[in-house]
């Protein structure tokens, strides 16, 4: 089970879907969902500069295009990995399967790419199986289709 998860996605309905899917799969007991990359950026900056670092989530799922934010999910991942000390399992959860974007995400340090669809649970289940590898940074980048 993952200690804590942070979801950054502009779609409120997906927050509910993700929360219920995580609960049914016993993925985590602590899930926080944010609507914008700016909010997530602010939180990570605060945890990095002022702490407490323990409050930082263990795993972060970021949407690719976050409407109403100053920057997209890939830029958020770059900021977390480069500016705020890395240290979290992080990846994209998006309905897009654009290869160019996937490569861009990989380049900034995303560890996985989950494609959103009606059947999200099997993908999350597969992700959970690989999770220990992501935690140890030994698992290669993977796209869950």
């Amino acid at each position: 089970m993952i200690d804590s998860i942070l979801l950054v996605d502009d779609e409120d309905l997906f927050h509910l879907v993700f929360e219920d899917a995580c609960s049914l799969l016993d993925m985590t007991l602590s899930l926080e969902a944010l609507n914008s990359s700016d909010e997530a950026d602010k939180l990570f900056k605060q945890w990095f500069e002022e702490g407490p670092i323990e409050e930082r989530p263990e795993c972060v799922f970021v949407d690719l295009n976050i409407i109403g934010s100053s920057f997209d999910g890939i830029e958020l991942i770059r900021k977390i990995n480069s500016d705020y000390g890395n240290g979290v399992v992080i990846g994209i959860i998006s309905s897009s399967d654009d290869n160019q974007e996937i490569e861009k995400a990989k380049a900034v340090g995303a560890q996985f790419w989950i494609i959103k669809s009606d059947e999200i649970e099997p993908r999350l289940e597969d992700f959970l199986k690989d999770y220990s590898g992501y935690e140890k940074k030994t698992a290669p980048f993977k796209v869950y289709k």
């Binding site: 509910l16 879907v17 219920d20 899917a21 609960s23 049914l24 016993d26």
Partner: protein
């Protein structure tokens, strides 16, 4: 009511008695070493929570899928509106072209008619001029009385000249007015 002095077990028993079932991940935090009756209650809570979540998940997925369909339909609608607008623009362009062609055709017909009138008028003018001149010349050569014929000839020439100027003036006027309109 549950109060601050109640132990977890007592609180759970009170909730059970009131048929109030716990929801959310809090249920998953409850240890499995609870007394059998309390454990049975927490298990039921878990079961109910899972059932409710599964139902909510299905409903939310359906709503999500419907939203997606609506968004796609909106995109298609927008494309159709754009296509319709383009077709309307094309139709308007064609109509304008047709109106222009019709106008041009009407003008052409008018010019042709004017040309015909001018030709006929000129033929008549020249014909009458030539005829009277021939008559007058013949009368003069034949040494006949030319008083009446001479007056008629000069009157006729005066009238023909006036009329020809009038025709030319009319034609020029029509031409000028048509050019100004177009």
């Amino acid at each position: 009511m549950i109060n601050g002095k109640d132990t977890v077990e007592e609180a759970l028993r009170k909730a059970k008695a009131k048929k109030v079932f716990l929801e959310g991940n809090f249920v998953k935090l409850l240890a499995k070493s609870l007394p059998t009756d309390v454990k049975a209650y927490t298990e039921e809570c878990k079961e109910r929570d899972t059932k409710a979540r599964r139902k909510r998940l299905e409903v939310n997925k359906r709503v999500q899928s419907q939203n997606k369909e609506l968004e796609e339909a909106a995109v298609v609608k927008e494309a159709l509106v754009l296509e319709l607008q383009n077709a309307l623009d094309d139709a308007e362009k064609l109509r304008d072209e047709a109106v222009e062609d019709l106008d041009l055709m009407q003008k052409r017909t008018q010019f042709e008619l004017i040309g015909l009138i001018v030709r006929v008028a000129l033929i008549i003018i020249v014909g009458v001029g030539v005829t009277t001149t021939l008559l007058y010349t013949t009368a003069m050569l034949a040494d006949k009385d030319t008083t009446i014929l001479g007056n008629a000839w000069s009157n006729l020439f005066g009238i023909l000249l006036t009329n020809s100027f009038s025709i030319i003036g009319t034609i020029m006027g029509v031409k000028y007015a048509t050019e100004k309109n177009s």
